[in-house]
Each structure stands twice: as C-alpha cells, then as structure tokens.
Symmetry: C2
Subunit: 437 residues, 2 copies
C-alpha cells in the first residue's frame, strides 16, 4: 500500500489531537483512502513535549523550516497559528510544491488571497476545513454540497466560548463577567478572551464563509464586529419573554447593494433550531435558493473535533494524489475491495431502552406481578407513571421507561405480562434512545 | 467555455426541479465549475408535459434508450424511480461509459452492489446524494467530511411524511388517520402512503448510510422495519410528560456483534436538537469517535431541494471531468479568475429588526415622545413591554421590538431619544433576525 508523508507544524491541542486520531483510526482511514497517511516529521518549539506525544517513530525538530524544505514531505499541516511565522512557512511550503492543510482562520481571513494565489500558481492544494466551525464539515458543504444554489445568506453560531457564556448567563442568570470566569475555569476561554468574546474569531470565520458562498475575495477588514461583553442579563430575560434567544451570530447576506458581513449579538426566535444550540457547540444555517435552509451542527473547537476536519482534508488531498480521478471518492466511501462483511445484528440482539404502556385492571398485586416479571428478565425501570383510564374507572394505564436491555428480554417479559389475568390489552412497546453516547 | 452534455430520464417533480434550478442558476454554477452543464435531452412518457417544461432548445423523447445510447451524452440523470426500467437504463448507461446521477434509493438499497460493481469495472461515477435526505448533503459529509472518524452510530429523521404526521399528532392531538389525511391533502403523502408510513423509505435511506459509514455492502433485506401506523396519540402525550418526543428514526450502530440496522418509532429526550425537528424537515445525527455528534438538517424532499443534490452531483462529476485534479474544487469554491468584486455593504446600510431597551422616568408623555421619534424615522414597532425598575420606583424599562429598518435610521432615532430629558441611561440596542426567509 502506498504511503503519503506528512509534516506537522505545531503539536499543541489540535496538533496532538490530529496525531492521536490519525494513529487510532489508521486502519479505517487506510481502508477508505487506499493508502497510508503517515506523519513523518513534527516541528514544535517544545521538543520534549513533542517527543512525548509522538514516540520514537516520528522525527521531531524545533526547526519548522526543515519540514517545509524536506523533499520527502508531500503535505504540510500548519497548526502554529498567528499571522507571521505561519504565513511564512505556508508560503515556503507552497513554493516548494507541497500541499497545505491549515486551521488558521485569522491568517486566511486576512491573507487568504495572497496564499490562494501562490497555491494556484504552484498547482498545489490549500485545504482549511478546520478553520471554520471545528469538526463540522461546513466548508465542504458550502463548496461542494450546495453548488446548485445561489446562496442567499449564512448565519452561524461559530464561537463556542461566547455561546457557552450566553448559555450560562441565560440558564443560571449569571452576569457576563461571572460566566466568563466559569468559561475560563473550564478551559473554554483563554486568559485573554478578547478574540472570542469581542467577535473577532467569529468574524474571521464568517469572512471565509462569505468568500466561498458568494465568490468574493476574503475581506476581513470590511466586517462589522460587535461582541458580547456589553450584554446585560436583563436583556437576555426580556428577549426570552418575547419569544427570542440572544446568540452571537456571524451573518453574511446577499442584498441589492452587495454583501452584508457582520458579527453581533442577535435575537432569534426560540422556535428556530439554531436558537436551541447551547454551550460550546456550533451551528450554521445556510439558506440556498433551491434547497431552502439547511443547518450544520457539531463541536466547533477542541482537540479531536478539529483534528477530524484536519484529517478529512488530508484524506481529500491523499485521494487526489493517489487515485484515478474518476474513483477519487469510492461509491460507498470505502473502495469495493475493502468492504467488510460485518454482520447485521438481528433485532433480537439489539440493545435499547423501552417505553411500555400496560393497561390493567386496578387491583392489589398487579404492579407487583409486573415488576417481578421484569426483574426476573433483568430489566430495570428508570421511570413510572400511573394514570386513571379515561372511560373505565377500574382500569389504569401503567407507563414505564426501562433502562437499556436486549430486545429478546423485553419481548419475553411482555409475553409473560400479557398472560397476567389483570391485563386488559396488549402491551404498547416503543423503543427509546438517549442519543447521548 | 467547455460544455458537458447531460441526459435526463424522467421529468416529474424532481426532474422538473432539476431543469428549473440548473437554468435559473446557470451562470453562478458555470462560474463555480468553469464549464456549462447542459441538459441536452430529456426522456419522459408524457412528451407534451416534457416539451412544456423544457421549451424548444432541449430534445424530448419518449424513448429513454435513445439517451443512454447517445454518444454525445456524458452524464445520465435517472429520476424515473422504481427498480425495473430504472435499473436496466442505469446499467446500460454505465455500460456505454456514461456517468450516472440518481435519486433512486429503493434501487440502490436493493441493487447497489450490482450497480457499483458495474460502474467500477467501466470506470464511471455513480453519484446519489439526492437518494438520502433530499437537499441535505449527508452523503458527502459521511463519505468525505467525516473520513477521520470511526463512525459509531447514525440516527436520522429521514422521512418527511411520517415526521409531518407525528408533528401533527403531537401539536394538534390528532389521531394517526386524521393526520395522514391532512398530509395527503397537502401533498406530503401519496394516495398509497405505505412506503412512507411503514418505514420502508426510511429503511432504504438508512441502509445506504450504513454502507457508507461502516464500509459494508448495501443490505436492505437485513433491516428491521416498523412504521408509525400503530402509534397512539396517548403514547405521544405520555412520552412528552416524561420529557421525550416520539420520532420515526432510522438507526444504524456499530456494536460488538456487528451492525444494527433498524427503523422504528423512538422516544428521544426533548432537549436533543433532533427531537425539535418538526414537520416535513429531515435531520441526521452522526456520531464519530473524533468529532463527537454532528447534525445535518434541511428539506428531505420536494422538487428544488432534491434538485439541489442532483445538481451538486452533476457539478462533482463535471469538476472531475474538466479540471486538473489538483484544482478540482477551487479554494474559495469559485476559481480565482471568476471571483466577483461585489462590495461589502457598510453597516449603516444593513437592514434588520431591533430590540430596544429604554430606561426612562415614569411620567406622562414619555412614551409619546419616543414613539414620535421612531415614527418620524419610519421605524414601526412590532412588540412592546413596559417593566417597573427593580430598585428605583419612579423609573421604568420600555422594551420594544421594531420591524426591519435601516441601521442608520435606528442610530439616528436613538441619538434623538437619548437627548430626551426623561431618559436615564443609554438605549440598549440589539439586532434581531427572524432567519425565516
């Protein structure tokens, strides 16, 4: 199997996550791409930390220039951040004919045009899914998934720190400064939180999305930016009372006079899905003329979610480099010769929780019989309510939620329960999924 | 500019939408792709209707075989549906070396392996974004956006008809049969609604997603399927009382014994975003080991939303065929030489609605002064509440929502309002977006 050599610049949070995920899912990724993606070299000022993360099979250097100059490296991942050294290294890598994957939104929002133009000239790829909304594949959706559409507008919760602060202010009635301190304690906000709370980070991201949506150059300097530090708890409550929730939105919109590009606290109707995105999560609504509104939701930051996007870009580049263009992306994501024959589990063996409704004659001992049968089948109950029957007064409905069990256990228990003389009808059984793991 | 000739099989709802959107957004799409995508031929049994839709510049035939045999056609779009003629035509198109775009989920869920294997042999693309969840680019997200991840599970509301029925049952307390009749009257359900309400359509879609997520062949025959026709309104209410909402979910999950593949009514906690997807909308949660949960939301059916996915596939194929592989997808979605210089609108000219909070001394005439200033600036008010000040009893907070106006109007009005002698503090102004247009 062919290998593709990658050099990683900066092994902090996202760099470490990228290394870890790539290693953990090596086999699955190789099955998808048909080649091995190998981080051959890592550059970081903190050599000791880098060695500790990558082990002995990866070359570690304090000098990032060694990586961008190394002819064995085909793809450079830039995760240093900032707009000086990062820019220099990216331009050198491009100049040396290497493809670049970066999460550097500040750099792209300010100097994207220069970087893309250099890449275009050298015929290399610059990929940046991780620069906007962490693990959400929004760049791909905008650039490839929605190409049929004239994009009308984009509105996004694209800064997890400020969304966390707003959620805390609303849910717990905290003042801005208290919520900020809590965010800092949990590692959601940095010691100097300016970029996040003053809307600058969100403006970088909406600037990049505006360029892709409308086919315009990146123009961060034209963005209107207002953060959340002046927001008052009273206004959050008033908004709620009027049916609205306040979110820090990045908004870009096609209007008659041109393109709107702005970041500011915004009231949105509570009934919109995006108004219900809480905590550090991100979500972006894209309105296309054909598709209507679509929404993309997920973790907007963090080591592994951001690594998910960095690696998706690596796979994209690797597929371009190694595969016959017509088979760049396999029909079923994995090439035909690497499909697996994992069995489909029979429904009997499926594990889930259950909602049960039992219609019984209301007399002593009924509940004891039922709970005994469930206990014997190893099914435990997480909630129960009992309700009078509307029409026949000696009958009641017993409603139970169970903890997770096997479908065959619940079926066997239901069979037994239905044979009890006090049961007046079949047991209603609906499956329950928490969708939280 | 190069042209790519496309043949369209079937010009019903989605076929008509595809033709319309491709025509309406011709220029924008050509800017993105760098070539013209032209529907040269259309096949439909109803020749008269087809002529009416496509006009005189497109060849119309009743014989679909003419299209799949035509050497000028590079891409065939199959929108006939069903598993007999559609399969025959797709296989012939593949055999003649043509790329295929299809929305036919039933066909792919049942005969995908045969079709993909034929395409692999002939070196052509078979694209099917429109087969799952209409306009939501979920196939692309799974196949390309989340490649870094070991997918753990997928849970989706992937049948709009049954989701509409469940929403109606819950919101209006309707019986299943009444809600179904309402769905049929609105065109959301067909005369024979079996495929939708019995979970078969959802099972086709989850089968396709399972194959992509886990790298297994399509195995519709192994899916467990239970629909919503037996659901009782009482259980929907009970679930609600316990903090859950009932949705028809397609679920696929990687477990120790293999892969779970099932469709059934499911209780999900109301606080999950997906529990709040109502009406005909679709949403899919994908849980990856690195990225965590991500959610994709949008219209799951309808002429233009589905056309959005069909055309995204056309663009994908066209980019593969015409562009240097390394520049297949332009950095900013549009190639550098076709970026536009549309201006960024200054904040003064932005139009939006506003939330205003005015802190005033409570005396006669204050409100009249304020509303006069707003009226003079052409700003109309959509809601107002007045609240006692918590500490100082002669003061009140006036909270107003305005209709849409220009930022410069509101700024000018606020300047005037702040000069009123009864004002005790600055006006709080937060922008409001309905996000519904």
């Amino acid at each position: 199997m062919k290998s593709i050599n990658v050099g990683l610049l900066g092994i902090g949070t996202v760099g470490g996550g990228t290394f870890t995920v790539l290693k953990r899912n090596q086999e699955e990724i190789a099955r998808r791409v048909g080649c091995n993606i190998i981080i051959q070299m890592v550059a970081d000022k903190d050599i000791e930390k880098a060695h500790h993360i990558v082990g002995s099979q990866t070359i570690v250097t304090a000098n990032a220039h060694e990586i961008v100059a190394n002819p064995d490296i085909e793809i450079v991942i830039e995760l240093i951040g900032g707009q000086t050294i990062a820019k220099e290294l990216i331009l050198q890598a491009i100049n040396n004919g290497k493809h670049v994957v970066t999460a550097n939104k500040a750099l792209l929002a300010n100097h994207g045009s220069e970087i893309f133009s250099a890449a275009q000239q050298k015929g290399v790829i610059v990929a940046f899914e991780a620069a906007v909304a962490g693990g959400i594949p929004i760049i791909k959706a905008l650039r490839e998934g929605l190409t049929a559409n004239r994009i009308e507008w984009i509105a996004g919760i694209i800064n997890g720190t400020s969304n966390y602060i707003l959620s805390e202010m609303r849910e717990k009635g905290l003042a801005f400064s208290t919520a900020l301190t809590s965010a800092q304690r949990l590692g959601y906000a940095e010691a100097d939180p300016t970029y996040d709370i003053e809307g600058i980070d969100a403006a970088h991201k909406i600037t990049i999305m505006a360029a892709i949506a409308f086919g315009i150059p990146v123009r961060f300097e034209k963005a209107y930016i207002e953060g959340i530090s002046q927001l008052n708890n009273e206004d959050i409550r008033n908004a709620e009372e009027l049916g609205y929730r306040i979110k820090l939105l990045g908004i870009t919109k096609r209007v008659e006079k041109g393109i709107e590009l702005r970041v500011h606290p915004t009231l949105i109707p509570i009934k919109r899905l995006i108004a219900n995105v809480e905590g550090v999560m991100n979500a972006i609504v894209v309105k296309g003329d054909a598709v209507g509104p679509t929404l993309y939701y997920g973790a907007g930051a963090g080591a592994e979610p951001t690594a998910s996007s960095v690696i998706a870009d690596l796979v994209d580049v690797a597929r371009q480099l190694t595969v016959d263009p017509k088979h760049r992306v396999p029909y079923l994501a994995f090439p035909p010769d690497s499909l697996s024959d994992t069995p489909i589990v029979s429904m009997e063996d499926v594990q889930t929780a259950y909602y049960l409704r039992l219609q019984v004659i209301d007399k002593p001992g009924v509940l004891a019989d039922i709970t005994r049968i469930l206990a014997d089948a190893d099914i435990s109950i997480s909630a129960m309510i009992q309700k009078e029957h509307a029409e026949e007064e000696d009958r009641v409905n017993i409603i139970m939620l169970t903890h997770t069990t096997q479908e065959k256990n619940i079926n066997r228990a239901i069979d037994k329960i239905e044979k009890l003389p006090s049961m007046t009808d079949k047991v209603v059984r609906i499956r329950l999924e928490e969708l939280n793991k």
